[in-house]
């Protein structure tokens, strides 16, 4: 090494600067709507989310994607603003409307210049409360969903996800993530209205905001906009009973360039005493760049580009799943390595240094995400969905850093059980199918 390239030794670091937990202004408005508002950052923008507790779990299997159709119908405007007027009004504040949802929520999102925070909040609440749902737009909006469904059917990740969910959840609404073509064609604006009004209302809605904005004005606008918005009786979703036996499903996709893999198992949900240890175990096993599975099948074997594991959560329900798109000829060897890494973690307590490092990563990323508007709002949504309070946030980083190697090993041993794994492979039948037999009886389709 030439002298001019010499790098001074790796620096010794000082003490961390402790972040101050940004106070949240939480209120329950007279209508029953809840708010959580956080001042954050220095840029004069505000991110707003109106979270309405209406989701796909409220639908029967034949109604799959009625929630997605509802998202598009919401973009058709409110009693006071038709589609064009709504879009123009929001654009004049610098925003546009996004509507997304999951099993339990529908979320109206926007980000506008800070001076328009109150006005934008009022607009979103007005939309959720008095959507137009114009019947004359039904054919067009249904056709849009049919197009998305056709595309989803061509994407291997969608097919893997759909098959995984069906295998894991059986007859529960969580099992259905793709629509039935005939049912989708028959959806009406009245179906959308019934779905929305049966479950939506002030008492089932949370307004979240983060950024630089006038919180008093937002609370006042939300109070006015939600006044006397009725709340229907809460609709209970039956708890899910996830599959806890070994299942292997193969979805033939002739000529597929890769095999899309899923391997997952039910785990305890947020709020459970083991959940945070599971988060650390997940980051160590497959949920981070430096994780064991990623090191193995990407950095040593080159089988996949972005293998990744995650914990997918719903209220009182969760599963852990590893996802990977692997080179077709190494499908079975890749699955061997994934299952092998699960076994290795279950077999012996991981080194203390590895666990400390990964816990630092989980805690650090939590703090980093919390320094962004979207990350803050994601966390506030998470707390609302799982019935957790601000104490959870305050204690989180310390709790993560206190997770011990034995805890990581124990939660892996207790929950990531090979005999309970649901395994899905979407790939080229000629190249892949025969190699799957050794993972268990294979069900096709």
């Amino acid at each position: 090494m030439s002298a001019d390239l010499l790098l001074p030794p790796r620096p010794v670091l000082g003490a961390p600067r402790v972040g101050i937990l940004t106070p949240r202004r939480r209120e329950v408005l007279p209508s029953g709507m809840r708010t959580a508002l956080v001042q954050s950052g220095t840029v004069p923008v505000v991110a707003l989310r109106l979270v309405v507790e209406v989701g796909s779990a409220h639908l029967a299997p034949a109604q799959a994607w009625l929630d997605r159709l509802t998202h598009d119908f919401l973009r058709e405007g409110s009693a006071t603003h038709d589609r064009a007027a709504f879009a123009d009004a929001l654009a004049a504040m610098g925003g546009s409307l996004d509507v997304e949802g999951d099993e339990h929520t529908t979320v109206l999102r926007t980000q506008v210049l800070a001076e328009h925070a109150a006005e934008a909040a009022g607009l979103l609440i007005g939309l959720a409360r008095t959507p137009r749902f114009p019947a004359e737009e039904t054919a067009r909006l249904v056709a849009d969903q049919q197009r998305w469904a056709e595309i989803a059917a061509q994407e291997p990740q969608w097919r893997a996800h759909a098959t995984f969910r069906a295998a894991l959840y059986g007859r529960h609404p969580y099992a259905t993530v793709l629509p039935q073509a005939e049912a989708l064609a028959g959806f009406t604006a009245q179906d959308v209205r019934d779905f929305w009004e049966r479950h939506g209302g002030a008492g089932a809605t949370v307004l979240l905001a983060a950024g630089q904005f006038d919180a008093d004005a937002v609370v006042e606008a939300a109070t006015r906009a939600s006044e006397s918005w009725a709340t229907p009786a809460a609709a209970a979703v039956q708890p899910a009973q996830a599959s806890d036996t070994r299942v292997v499903r193969f979805v033939p996709r002739p000529g597929s360039e890769q095999t899309t893999l899923r391997a997952g198992v039910p785990v305890p949900p947020p709020g459970h005493g083991d959940y945070i240890a599971l988060e650390v175990a997940n980051a160590l096993l497959g949920g981070s760049f430096n994780s064991r599975i990623t090191q193995n099948i990407r950095e040593r074997k080159g089988y996949a580009y972005s293998p990744n594991s995650q914990i997918s959560t719903r209220p009182r329900d969760a599963y852990w799943v590893e996802s990977a798109d692997v080179t077709t000829p190494v499908t079975a060897p890749a699955l061997d390595e994934i299952l092998g890494e699960i076994d290795r973690l279950r077999a012996s307590v991981p080194p203390a240094e590895e666990v400390a490092s990964i816990a630092n990563y989980v805690a650090g990323v939590f703090a980093i995400r919390g320094a962004t508007l979207s990350g803050l709002l994601d966390h506030l949504e998470f707390l609302a969905l799982h019935g957790l309070d601000d104490g959870y946030t305050a204690a989180y980083e310390q709790r993560v850093r206190s997770v011990t190697p034995t805890e990581v090993w124990r939660v892996a041993r207790d929950y990531l059980r090979p005999e309970r794994l649901t395994i899905v492979a979407v790939g080229d039948p000629a190249a892949v199918r025969a190699g799957l037999d050794r993972f268990g009886p294979v069900v096709e389709g």
């Binding site: 001019d4 390239l5 010499l6 790098l7 001074p8 790796r10 620096p11 670091l13 961390p16 600067r17 972040g19 220095t42 004069p44 923008v45 598009d72 973009r75 064009a84 879009a87 123009d88 929001l90 654009a91 004049a92 504040m93 610098g94 925003g95 546009s96 980000q111 001076e115 849009d144 197009r147 056709e150 595309i151 059917a153 061509q154 760049f289 430096n290 950095e299 074997k301 080159g302 089988y303 996949a304 580009y305 972005s306 798109d325 080179t327 400390a356 990964i358 630092n360 990563y361 650090g364 990323v365 703090a367 980093i368 995400r369 919390g370 320094a371 962004t372 508007l373 979207s374 990350g375």
Partner: protein, 442 residues
Amino acid sequence: MTTPAEAAAFRVPVERLTLANGLRVVVSPEHSAPVVCVAVYYGVGMRLEPRGRTGFAHLFEHLMFQGSRQMAKMELVGLVQANGGLLNGSTRTDFTNYFEVMPSHTLELALWMEADRMRGPVITQTELDNQRDVVKNEIRVNVLNRPYGSFPWIDMQERAFTNWHNAHNGYGDMVDLDAASLADARAFFDAYYSPANAVLVVVGDAEPADVFAMARRYFEAIPAAPPPPRAEIDEPPQEAERRFTRVDPLAPTPALAVAYHTPPAATPEYYALGLLHQALAEGDDALLHAELVSKRGYASEVDGGINFLGHMHNAQTPLLWCVTLVHDSDVTADAILESFDEVIEGVRERGLNAEALARARTKARASLFGTIADQYIPGFGLADLLASFELFEGDASRVNDLDARFTAVTSELVASVARDYLRRENRVILELHAGAATEAAS
């Protein structure tokens, strides 16, 4: 809380220093959270890579994670994670970037790691072969194994541009990737990864004086090197409309892309096109959305943008303003183009009305603020802008001129740019045919 006047006056602090070896250092302090973003940008991207080596800039990006003089393979990733940070890298049109977002007390470690990496990767054939496989899997998952995988970015660039640099597939041909050798990697590093071809940006909870002192300590001993070979990226003017079709074997339903060559970057005309983009293609109030989605029902979304691998502020020109939509098989591309042209010709004849222009300006400002505030990675959106202005205009602090550049655009200029650039002779049309249509219908 802010007033509109304060929003217009919003500026980010920018301090700059150039080291003796030519490395430019840019710092923008922001202390609201104990987090810092460290980003190193090298002035070589997908279109600047040398001929005969398609995909090399991107493959080389992967190699920069495979070990250096002081860090074994994956040690950098492990150090970032163990210190509570996250990291990534990406290869874009005109640069390759590497960044870490870390707790601010670990700033010096992040600089040390990037300084070691700037001294060059230390790798063997094993790491090269491994990352070649990873990159091929990246191309399979993002392009080859999914519908619309190369649409529009690879497909349109290959057809709209005539200069190899602009036209070639920056993800790379498998043949070129297979041919890449360790000697190529060495030569590529020597040519493109010199300090004078790089910008180091620090955004967040850090003091500029501290950053400058650390930059000197860790980076200044890296020897200066000659500037990289200059890639000639000019395009000859397009004289007539060009139209292409391509069959995507995995697409269940057709798609259409229309692209116009943009004015040169940093000119008033370029920002006028930026406002036209906001008015025509951004958000539910956009004119093309109103016509093609809401009125005609041809598609559920109209997507548009300048720069397939980023946005209008983080690449050089030539670029394309490209609008795409996915539509049903029972409507022809010609029928969609007829409606599309009604909108475009209306703007070419009459420009934008005062209200639409005001909304376009507001959306441009909000988009800029959104980039600075960033969605999920604190500091990175601003770091990207600062590095881009340092690389392409020679002064990162010009990021603070952006709002004024949009505000200075008059309605007359918008109308004349619409007339001059949204001409049919200046555009390229690509019809994507649905190779999987029959299968999907059955």
